[in-house]
Assembly symmetry: D3
Homo-oligomer: 311 residues x 6
């Protein structure tokens, strides 16, 4: 239960005066709580019914089956980022707000439910960190995001560009979200980068559409055998200070690292590439993902949100 | 947050006067909420920090790894018992109170933590329905139960009698809980039935101890090829109207039905035997178990708690 | 390539005169062909582009993922039914006609595609033996069947009655096909039997609708510990000589026998019950199913088609 | 190291005079040794290089991959048979004599190696309890057995009669061993019983050959829903006091209980049927099998060897 | 049914005159056909009874169990090679010709069956792309290939050189095929390269034989941490314009990428190494392999066949 | 049974005079023994009851479940190290001495049992190569080692430093062994290197303790994309000629290579890094590990023991 108006005012006043220390949610430490203990929320954080008052929120979108595994594996993630010193849980108020309801038998109806749920989260000023997929969900999420922020930049790690026009006659499915976003002006196309793209294709030149929109397409084969840190420095530059949405399809990684994907492509990125790369960012809005890698990558995204202190 | 004292008094008065209708927790129906949606609590019921005010509570004890799976599979269980008409969620206030903390590196310390947690639950008047194991946990739970209720009857479904004296020099482990309970007078030995017992043994006469205490030992081989309904009628008679603790070790079932157990024994009971049997009960205090079977059996136990109406 | 009109006439004349022996498709024998050899068609029968000219056809409907496994496991099924002496491949011309196309992103569109495909198969006089699911597919298949045969009888083995009205606002999904069939008059309700029904329910009386339509609902708990042969004799009587559709949802069986189902319910039927039962039939139109059990049950259905000789 | 001749003579004298107590091998008890401890021998018994001096010996034949699993699971089997009181390890000197060498690329060569190895074991007076398969191995084992004992009776639990004549032109493979045994006069055909037989078949009358030899073929469908104890009493009678070979193909059981078989057939026997049945025997020579069921069934066979005392 | 001689002549004439457009087989696009639809042929191409008239053919050799998985996973492979622009299905007539029959109980007999089947394929002028193993099959395939082309060059990716002399007394098994090929003069030894070789060995100098024949042996440890493109340029040079056979044992890759192999060796090649490498080729005859990697590598081999156009 | 004193003296004399050739244990070659044959000892070496007389011994410590798998997979390892020419089995007398007994219900009691067992092994002059874990076992092993050798150097490959102080109030568990070793002066802290360290942490500066002790901590991220050979040259230098203990926690590797670990961390080392690295050593005492990687790494450790000849 949120504080009464009077209590809230009092609290606000004290915060302004520096008299109180904001109280944060922190993942339990295995020093004091046995790791298997607890309801299976993300990082075992408290479950909240809404994003109201949160700085960042983990939120599930259950069109596929990955969220349960990500939440379960997230018990392995601890409070601090040992590489960067980031201490997100000492900087931001974070919780797990559960799952958005979806309609398993009607994809457009699901998209509407997702858009409405994210409109509320975004409106509250909370940054959503999304668990789930399939990648269809990016379309309604970006509708909600762009409604507040206008067209956003995009860093998109994936095996596929997801810019098809339609399949089996349908315009909405996991192969088309970014074409739909372009159609509706949700992306700042000069600030779109797609990384890890690979695989055989239906068309002879499958990247033509992306290049025509001004996207930068970085093929997986151009990433092999090397660190992505230099690339990410360029990307950082390109993104500038304006809002960026980060979308991570786990099949951007090689299937050896992320076997639980429905559309695997061989010869993908490695965790050391994507881990070494994305903490260069400091501005992001959301991210979608799967399992142990998912849990860790979501944690790393959290670590680079604006306002996260290092210790 | 619980109501203030004044609110509580008011509420109690209204309840007494029949002026208010108690508000219950109900598992979400797939008619309105997609089945995969939601934080993974038991039957997707609300998560509560304590058992205070609840009629019954699901509680996890994480000495082994089964709880996550039971909670996940419990999303398949629905609101009504179609066989008996029992409507537990329209009769009792039920929630998931999460997990008891344990000490993974010190079994006696875990037992102390479990006993203390169950003392609180039992003291509040709430009936605990326990998810977990291994079977060691029955010992501290029965300590808590007997502290309030005195020596209790026991219906124990298992492949093993769990009445060993010690192993590797230790008196507390999953093979000894009921011997420890007898040692401490926690059981009403004339009302103890062990069902499904089988397997090779360390001693030539492995059931001698049980029989000396007055337990009824029903071997699995005496259950083969037939319904357990007649047996359960006898057991019901034997238990009378006094408190009974129900302990269900999933290895009582044949490993074909419950492969995820650490101590499988071939030629066990079948789900139709245990399902057909245990809704004859109407008085129980707790029950321990694993996975889809676990979820369903826990639901059925809930269905026979005192006060559950049928519709 | 089918024979020319002239050749066909000649052939027909010869058949009438008993001068030629019809040529059949027969599963390869492991005596001559190594079992793993071959493109993975049902029973390794020839793959045909259409049902034209066939007496019976295996046909896949890929809304879920079971067909590949059924076709793979069907390599274990041999030419003769050792229990009954039935020799379907010496009596009927049978082939695998591949899969119906579906729309993975639009369930009503899938239903339209399935209905159209089965209209063609049924029109050709071929009996379809369907691999697949989920159970949504029964609705468009029965639309096609009833268009030719009028309302049909139904023998339905399942854990669930599948007669819900809607979920998440949708009228078409795997929980509603038989309600839709009743709505459209596709079933002869006095000849509908549902066997193996069980599990918890959303409504206090989940079988009310079925009984109101005149269906016979045989609960799993009424089948435990005994042969279903007497029941099936009654069912046979009830069905009479009129067309019957057989629908087999693999979750009618206990999850120990058929773990690969999305909606498992404990304490179900056993293979010896359903195997011992359904070769009492001699008139059926179709059947839907999964894996090794699926392959065998489809074979047994084939064995009781009209015209199958025994040897 | 075996005792010197002098020591042996002394020992023999003492044994005759009843002055010494024979020293046995006994599976370690979990009371004193943690269950996972130890090199993975059968029941964690000592490994011996030869069968010389043993009363019974576990021996592996690695044509397939089951032995490792049986030996691993056998750590769950304890010293006494709680059902019958049999105490084999207090009656017989038992050890694990490891595996027979085989030729993975030449089946007839493997048969020769197996036959020679079993000739040595049988010659030493030791009863072999064989782990392994595939079922081809029964042929060379019975060659060795019959060389010493003459034609033997056979109790054969299996889904298939294994009496084919040839496949792919070969006379020796897992579908033909008992035809080869008949060809060579290794079986006393009036004392052959095959139990659990089922499944589709290549020939219209697949049991004709067996019946012509005088075998009793007990179909699985004649065993459903009931205890096999009465059948086994008849079999016991039929076997009389002459040598019997017991051959247990794990696919005699339903695949739900024994999924790890290469030739599964649905609707098979249950562990309670075969467990309840075969301790009626008191004369056997060998037995082949797989995994937890395998470990337990081998233990039960051991329990009924001549000379086993009950306690 | 192939065209009649007259039709064929007519067709050939038209082809020569450029009057007809050759009709190709093309994998179905998920834009129009749902991905799971279809009989499980390689890339869902048409199944043909013979290689006659084909430019290239996928053919299975079922000595092990990988083909089903490769064909299933090949549904993920699409029509164009996005990296190189190759459009094999617009250049060559390709189909799946099913599996060669083998003799599971007699390896030399299998080799004879394989050789005869490949003699026919090679004679027809069709390039076989082989799915399967184990690696024994390379020996009879190379017998067939060399019969037509004379001694061929060899690019062999593998963890092992497969040049043993014999095992368990046998000269033919998966460890010896290339020694047998040398014995029979099937290889142009100055154009043999073996890549990815590693692991412990029976002999102190396990590569001695290979070097004595003039093979180039490239150890896996010399490939670690770098692209194989420079190596492949050298190999290309070495191979010249003469016929080359490509043999790919999936265990050349690290077990993390290809766990389904029977003889795993740690620290192997990565998919980015082999993918980045082998499209440098433009002349190949065949290739053996497993699963998703197998499907993709076979597609890439197809992409570099002579005559494949890029778009 | 060891030789008598007299025999031993005679043997020693002969050895000195070069008159006898020491007899070694050698893993069976698949040339003569089928690979699946044999009791599942490490590399199928003889099982010995004690380390007495051995130069090196494989020994299991069963606190977790990996040993069975390592011993099973070790059948893939052959006699010679093809990379370095090392021939350990022609240089040292090696055997498998089975498992140390542990107390599964009492971790400090297990530590005592382990320490006592290793004291005996170390006292006999035999080098133990340990299979098992969890990592708690390093503490009692180093107690035994340091009792004989004094404080030793340490090369520690792991994702975690394992230098926590306590968890759940306990000082002994798998997160604390090296802190306990420092507490008791078992390590020569100036010769301690920890490699592969990574992951989120409970404390803001998780490596502070290690650095304060003088340990060198090499983060995984500093190892990405490159060979560890230069690092290992430095480490070799640092270790000097004094005793070194090598401790290898399999989670040092990326979970794609070693999924069977309880505490996975993404973005770890690769087998080519650790294989390429550690045969630079030539002095070690022990090593703990898991599965196929475990088997190979243990073999490589054996290859660099003092006294191993190359061929």
């Amino acid at each position: 239960t949120p504080p009464s108006l009077r209590e809230a005012k009092l609290l606000a006043a004290r915060l302004l005066l520096g008299r109180v220390r904001k109280s944060f949610n922190v993942p339990p430490s295995a020093e004091f709580v046995a790791r298997p203990v607890g309801i299976c929320s993300m990082l075992r954080l408290p479950v909240r019914a809404s994003a109201e008052g949160l700085d960042a929120a983990f939120v599930g979108v259950p069109l596929d089956t990955g969220r349960g595994a990500i939440r379960a594996e997230s018990a392995m993630v601890r409070r601090h980022n040992a590489s960067t010193g980031a201490a997100p849980f000492d900087s931001l108020l974070v919780a797990d707000v559960g799952d958005v309801n979806v309609n398993l038998y009607n994809l457009p109806a699901s998209c509407r439910l997702i858009r409405e749920a994210f409109q509320k989260i975004v409106a509250s000023g909370c940054v959503p960190l999304t668990l789930g997929g399939d990648h269809t969900i990016t379309y309604p999420i970006l509708q909600a995001v762009a409604e507040k922020h206008g067209p956003v930049g995009l860093v998109h790690v994936d095996a596929h560009t997801d810019t098809g026009d339609r399949a089996l006659g349908e315009k909405i499915y996991h192969g088309t979200p970014f074409r739909r976003c372009v159609d509706e002006g949700l992306l700042d196309c000069s600030r779109v980068v797609q990384i890890g793209i690979r695989g055989s294709s239906y068309a002879p030149d499958p990247y033509k559409y992306c290049r025509e929109q001004g996207f930068r397409v970085v093929l997986a084969e151009d990433c092999w055998f090397k660190s992505l840190v230099p690339l990410m420095a360029e990307v950082r530059q390109q993104m500038g200070a304006k809002p960026v949405y980060i979308s991570f399809d786990i099949d951007g990684l090689d299937p050896a690292y992320a076997p639980g994907t429905g559309t695997p492509e061989i010869a993908g990125l490695t965790p050391s590439q994507v881990r070494g790369a994305h903490y260069l960012f400091s501005l992001c809005l959301s991210v979608g993902n799967t399992a142990l890698l998912g849990a860790n990558l979501l944690f790393e995204m959290l670590c680079v949100l604006p306002g996260v202190k290092t210790m």
